[in-house]
Symmetry: C2
DNA sequence: CAGTATCCACTTCGATACTG
DNA sequence: CAGTATCGAAGTGGATACTG
């Protein structure tokens, strides 16, 4: 599975340790293009708790529209992160569940959540400080 | 620092292990609102290699416009992830460097990059398979 | 060099209405 | 229940020109 954070070793000086990747973006943008939208991670986090039906997801994720729930699940399905099972009953019943790849993504997302919890306060404080010190700054 | 991915333990069944967070999004969206844009992670990854000047960043990140480089660095600065040092010389010289918080973020981002590298192929394959199996699907 | 300012194209998303 | 279709508002980023 290799979740070793080798590479971008935090360091102070201005030397060039030549990060994990030669010269490009390490491919991080690929992931963020998938997770960066408004709802994807919320769906993944919810599905990490277990299999869910369409309506269950919608109820578990307040504010998501039918349209966005559909496009989000469809994208995750298409990318092989989510498995979609249709029970051809009446009324129809569709179940969504994370695949193995999807579950590994959920673990990574948990790492993000950890970071968020650990540093949210510091960031909020920094922002308040900055705003106080730069009252009439453009483009906030 | 606590980079323990407790919580969303990957598991197969449909039971409810009650994730890391009671009911909400675990706050992951907070991070992604900051990282999800087109350039932020690229700037962070570049700064993880060492202190950079404005032009150096621009050259290191092909395609970024002056506008976006400015708003991206400004945001990171405002959030306390990046330190901005102005040398009042002529011509002016401005240096950007990650703060401690910024460096911890770089570590987390490296985790994302790891995941991306480990699963990019699987996702691309899944997508091709899906596209082949669903030729005339709407909204791709 | 290191920005700011302005305008515009494109994307993303929400609301609403309808369907098998 | 589980979607699809359509439209419009808002956000986001790129190009260009100008400045201390």
């Amino acid at each position: 599975m290799s979740v070793a954070h080798t590479g971008v070793t935090p360091q102070v000086g201005g030397a060039e340790p030549v990060g994990p990747c030669g010269e490009d973006d390490c491919g991080v943008r690929d992931v963020l293009d998938r997770l960066g939208d408004k709802w994807t991670v919320l769906v993944v986090v919810e599905l990490a708790k277990g299999t869910r039906r369409y309506r269950e997801l919608q109820r578990a994720i307040p504010g998501i529209s039918q349209r966005m729930l559909t496009v989000t699940t469809r994208r995750l399905w298409r990318d092989g992160l989510v498995e979609r099972t249709v029970h051809p009953t009446i009324p129809p019943q569709v179940e969504y569940a994370l695949t193995d790849v999807g579950r590994s993504l959920a673990v990574t997302i948990a790492g993000l959540a950890d970071w968020s919890r650990d540093h949210k306060d510091a960031m909020d404080a920094a922002r308040r400080r900055w705003d106080a010190e730069h009252p009439d700054e453009t483009g906030r």
